[in-house]
């Protein structure tokens, strides 16, 4: 229950090929995150799986059965939209009950399930309100409630947290992760935020212009990115890229160094530079260091540092923390 396989799936809108031939398989119970910059086709891919868009070619298999032409409702998937897509004229109770009513369940059964979902999502006190009378986080929960009562084979989330403020986003992230632990249902989650991807996923699918750049667990992507794009996309602050002579020394066209792998050393070190901007976060200090012949490096140092604009420092990176890429951007192993 809940495995999804895409085979040679493509999608065109008119002349524009949004999804070039793409293969992907999702194992039952996995939490899969599609991540990539805006406009790369994440939503389109999700909607192809949901059945809200027809594939141009290729097949979609759900639970080993061909579902390419199946209607959305027949696929047994539930979706949470970015805009929540709650029914504004119905109470929270009716919103959550809607899929059950459409499935023709009897009223007692519907009440039982709705109350159960409301309990799980802390919505019991709000059941008789309209969506317009709820806060963003509560609306999000109603949307999730409407999805879970159906007991679907898989959940599809399309950037569900992007309309929430930062603190709430962290909370909801946890709640969705907990929900996944509890239900152990396949979840496909779309986001442009690599932090959400790294924190929630069992498996991350990095997309660019419809192409899958890399598939792997969060730490696989962090430790061995397949190319420059993935290396730059995963990790915060962004990886430093250095080209030219400095890269040639390591036998690569481009080398990448993560800010957190740069160590500040007293005298002898790899690169000597001056601090431009220093961002003091308390737990960390981000330094933007201008190094001659290398460019500006971002350095992430733990804790508080008494460094400021104009200070001269030396930074070093351990040899095994240097990522090497060839001319066309692929990683050199």
């Amino acid at each position: 229950m809940g495995s999804i396989v895409l085979k040679q799936v493509t999608k065109r809108f008119g002349d524009v090929e949004v999804i070039p031939p793409l293969d992907l398989s999702i194992v039952e119970g996995e939490f899969v995150v599609f991540v990539g910059p805006s406009g790369c086709g994440k939503s389109t891919l999700l909607r192809l799986i949901a059945g809200l868009e027809d594939v141009t070619s290729g097949t979609v298999e759900i639970n080993g059965q061909d579902a390419t032409t199946a209607r959305p409702a027949a696929r047994g998937l539930a979706m949470v939209f970015q805009t929540y897509a709650l029914y504004p004229h119905m109470s929270v109770r009716k919103n959550i009950a809607f899929p059950l009513k459409m499935a023709g369940l009897d009223q007692a059964e519907i009440d039982r399930k709705v109350n159960g979902a409301a309990q799980v999502l802390n919505l019991t006190d709000y059941l008789d309100r309209r969506p317009g009378q709820l806060s963003g986080g509560q609306r999000q929960r109603v949307a999730i409630g409407r999805a879970i009562v159906r007991e679907p084979m898989a959940f599809l989330f399309d950037e569900p947290l992007s309309n929430l403020d930062a603190a709430l986003r962290v909370n909801m992230r946890l709640e969705i992760s907990e929900l996944h632990q509890k239900l152990a249902t396949t979840m496909i989650y779309v986001t442009h935020d690599q932090v959400e991807a790294m924190t929630m996923a069992d498996k991350i699918v990095v997309l660019r212009d419809g192409y899958i750049e890399q598939v792997g667990s969060p730490l696989e992507l962090y430790n061995s990115p397949a190319n420059l794009f993935v290396a730059g996309f995963i990790g915060s602050p962004k990886m430093n890229f250095i080209e030219g002579a400095e890269a040639s020394k390591h036998g690569a066209h481009t080398i990448g160094v993560r800010p957190e792998h740069l160590v500040i050393t007293q005298d002898a070190g790899m690169w000597q530079g001056t601090v431009g901007v220093a961002e003091h976060l308390g737990s960390d200090t981000f330094l933007h260091v201008a190094v001659d012949g290398v460019g500006t490096l971002t350095v992430r140092a733990p804790g508080e540092l008494a460094l400021r604009h104009g200070d001269a420092i030396t930074v070093t990176v351990p040899g095994d923390k240097i990522y090497r890429f060839d001319r066309d951007g692929s990683a050199v192993r």
């Binding site: 949901a50 809200l52 209607r71 959305p72 409702a73 998937l77 539930a78 979706m79 939209f81 805009t83 897509a85 709650l86 029914y87 504004p88 004229h89 119905m90 809607f98 899929p99 459409m102 499935a103 409407r146 159906r150």
Partner: protein
Amino acid sequence: MATTHSRTAARFMISPSVLLLLGWMIVPLSMTIWFSFQSYNLLSPGTEEWIGFLNYEFFLTDPAFFAALSNTLLLVLGVLVITIIGGTLLALLLDQPVFGQGVVRILVIAPFFVMPTVSALVWKNMFMNPVNGLFAHAAKAMGLEPFDFLAHAPLFSVTLIVAWQWLPFATLILLTALQSLDQDQLEAAEMDGAGPFSRFIYIVVPHLSRAITVVILIQTIFLLSIFAEILVTTNGGPGYASTNITYLVYAQSLLQFDVGGGSAGGIIAVILANIVAFFLMRMIGKNLEA
């Protein structure tokens, strides 16, 4: 306008227009009320006198009054039903992406720009005429007896003509409402297992309810005073079969030159319109609240 000061200033500023509007309404209304208590017939000038409620008594006990009252309500109701159901269906159709959408939309709106007298004449002579009308030709082509619409179903015919005129209005309002419906909601409902019919009933219709309310309220105001279409087609006949209150007031005051009786009829029409408005707001007014 938060402060008391600015509120007072605002009241002061709008007072001239309020007073003007009030005068605009009060003068003709009080003159009508005044005439309605007079015996005032243009055929016998100089005999005006105060006769109390006699005009009202005369108007209300006229058998034509009850015929006109029910005709008025039937006409309003019939047109509302046709335009709202037809308008919703047309709006659904026009909302689909079709070739030449712009032209089709203009064609649909066109009847609204035709003057009531003209459209009534066109319907009377070119469609409903039992000898030359299109309907008569169609009936003959199918081997049926042509039906004389205006003679045998006068109220229905007038209803049809008026509905044709108001259909574009309803369609337009409902179409804009339809276009403001969030597509995500429809897709969510589709994922939730709602078929096209359930989506229409549970998502589209509730979304349209406010627009439908607006259509009902605005159309009712205009439909209570339909006149030109009746004058041009049936002259209120045969008998009183297609006479509404407005036409009855006209017949009273201008055909019989009875200004007093006509004024009494006018006042009764105003009272009726207010009763209708009261019940309408009671029934559907809550749809207008945000």
